[in-house]
């Protein structure tokens, strides 16, 4: 990252307080994910029926749940799992999606036909439904939530990479690289890949938010994460039964934090788009 780029990022952050806010929020979440278990005020798994269903107070900022666990601690500790699922899923779809998309766009022919058909077939399902089907078939585990989320995100990366590789395949600088004796692999990794990185990074950020939503949704309906492990989706599910009787806090805080996390990634994606878009460089 050269000085000009850094200056530009600083400029965008300064110009755009919303992106700055998202950036700060993101840092807080990353902190929770890294050191959550050490900064949580209580053990997220210890039950105490004597202090069950307490409304938010000085001792328990977010209140306690039906078996007396501290909701704030559970929300903090859950960050690592939720982010972990989302990051692994996005990383998987990033790597495989880009590889497949580049192959399709660069080699064309049968590669293209088969890979595009694969992407189309995934997209032929409502994506959350497909994710449900995959987890149900593979078995109910966190790893399978990651795989399912990765699979349903695959088409986005395939399409971006394919389109870019298609355009670049015949571009002058690729032609030049080929004439000077570079192998296909070298051309792809050194000349095509770096060029598709910026648009894909925006996709990654927007995708992260979506992956978190997706993973939380799956655990909300009882797939993947098993209680008593703290996870935002499942905590909302646990609190759902109490909300109509007025104990709002059990579902409210995990839901709110989940929403903030997704919001944060969406804002970051928008901000990233501004940073990358050269038309906005001044």
């Amino acid at each position: 990252m050269d000085a000009a780029t850094f200056k530009h990022i600083k400029y965008v952050l300064g110009e755009n307080p919303v992106t700055l806010f998202a950036f700060v929020l993101f840092t807080v979440f990353v902190l929770f994910a890294l050191v959550g278990p050490w900064i949580a005020p209580y053990d997220p798994l210890v039950t105490d029926t004597a202090r069950a269903m307490q409304a938010p107070s000085a001792a328990h900022w977010f209140g306690t749940d039906a078996v007396g666990r501290d909701i704030l601690s559970r929300v903090i500790v859950a960050t690592r799992l939720d982010f972990g699922i989302a990051i692994s899923a996005v990383a998987l779809s990033f790597v495989f999606g880009i590889a497949l998309g580049l192959a399709a766009g660069f080699f064309g022919g049968w590669w293209d036909r088969i890979i595009s058909r694969l992407a189309d077939t995934i997209m032929a399902f409502p994506l959350f439904v497909l994710a449900m089907g995959i987890v149900a078939a593979l078995g109910n585990s966190v790893a399978n939530i990651v795989y399912a989320t990765a699979i349903i995100n695959l088409p986005f990366y395939i399409r971006v990479a394919r389109a870019e590789a298609n355009i670049r395949r015949d571009a002058g600088f690729v032609e030049a690289a080929r004439l000077t004796g570079n192998s296909d692999w070298r051309i792809l990794s050194h000349h095509v890949f770096p060029n598709i990185l910026p648009p894909v990074m925006v996709q990654v950020s927007l995708n992260m938010g979506w992956a978190i939503l997706n993973a939380a949704g799956l655990s909300f309906i009882g797939l993947g994460v098993r209680p008593p492990i703290p996870e935002w989706g499942i905590m909302v599910a646990e609190g759902a039964t109490y909300i109509v009787s007025g104990a709002w806090w059990v579902a409210f805080f995990p839901g709110m934090v989940l929403m903030l996390a997704v919001f944060c990634f969406n804002l970051l994606g928008d901000g990233l788009r501004d940073m990358i878009d050269p038309r906005r460089r001044t």
Binding site: D120, T121, G209, G246, G255, M259
Partner: protein, 337 residues
Amino acid sequence: MLKVILWRLIGAIPNLIGVVVITFLLTRALPGDPAAFFAGQAATVEAVEQIREKLGLNKTLPEQFIVYLKDLARGDFGLSLSTGQPVATEIIQRLPASIELTFAGLLFAVAIALPLGVLAATRPGSWIDQLCRIITTAGVSLPTFFTGLLLSYVFYFLLGIAPSPLGRLDPVFMSPRAITGMYLIDSLLTGEGGLFWAAFKQLILPAITMGLFVLAPLARMTRASMLGVLSSDFIRTARASGLKGSTILYTYAFRNALLPVVTTLGMVFSFLLGSNVLVEKVFAWPGIGSYAIESLTASDYAPIQGFVLTMGVLYVLLNLLIDLAYALIDPRVGLEA
């Protein structure tokens, strides 16, 4: 026009095949014992063997696929272990509830998003434009299941203006005679006003919950495409011809701006059908989504497979409808086909 429709129908076939193949593979080609899946966790060894025999799992994969296709052709989705009913029958019974909810959600989203997007585009920089921007960013961040819970807490528990968020109808009412299976339509057809109102009240919160989720992409697209169209050459011509502001806005700008919005409907339906499952769980809505969740908890696999297949086929058909709607609005489509 007929040619266009025919082309689109043919174009949907590979996707339908894809949906069937994937649904088949999900159960047969994955690690683990499909027979055990179908039999459920509580099944005995004999029961598993029996199911293996019945499903023809001792045959090769292509042979199994042929059998699967034959079953599908006869409308046989297998039996639900927990209810003992044929899956196809139960899905057909529950499908209208899901469809009613989905379209109510879509209707709500469209009714809010399109005017909002148009207003934001015609008054750039105004408060309504800012509102549109906030809604479109916040809207996509809302976990549907959480919004549903919040709405029922506020409108049922706090304000008491919404009915109890459980099911399609208050228990004091009898469901209307099934004609379409959609309560709103059926109660209108049978002329039961009170029933219609009761079903409508029950539908409002879940429909808003679904609608809020897809409002954002719709409003964002409407705003962007309206902005683009308003600065186009033919709008300048319309203005230079002295046409009325309303004519320019609706007959000229809005209809053109609608084209990209119709295209996003595909993604919108993906969101709607997916969030259907979550919203149905929150509001105990007896559609196919909650059927799938009930089956998940019972480790009853045939209904889940049926559910995924139904949703996939439904989505392919909806996309087909969107394509046709697009072809109807845009005269240029026929040429490309």
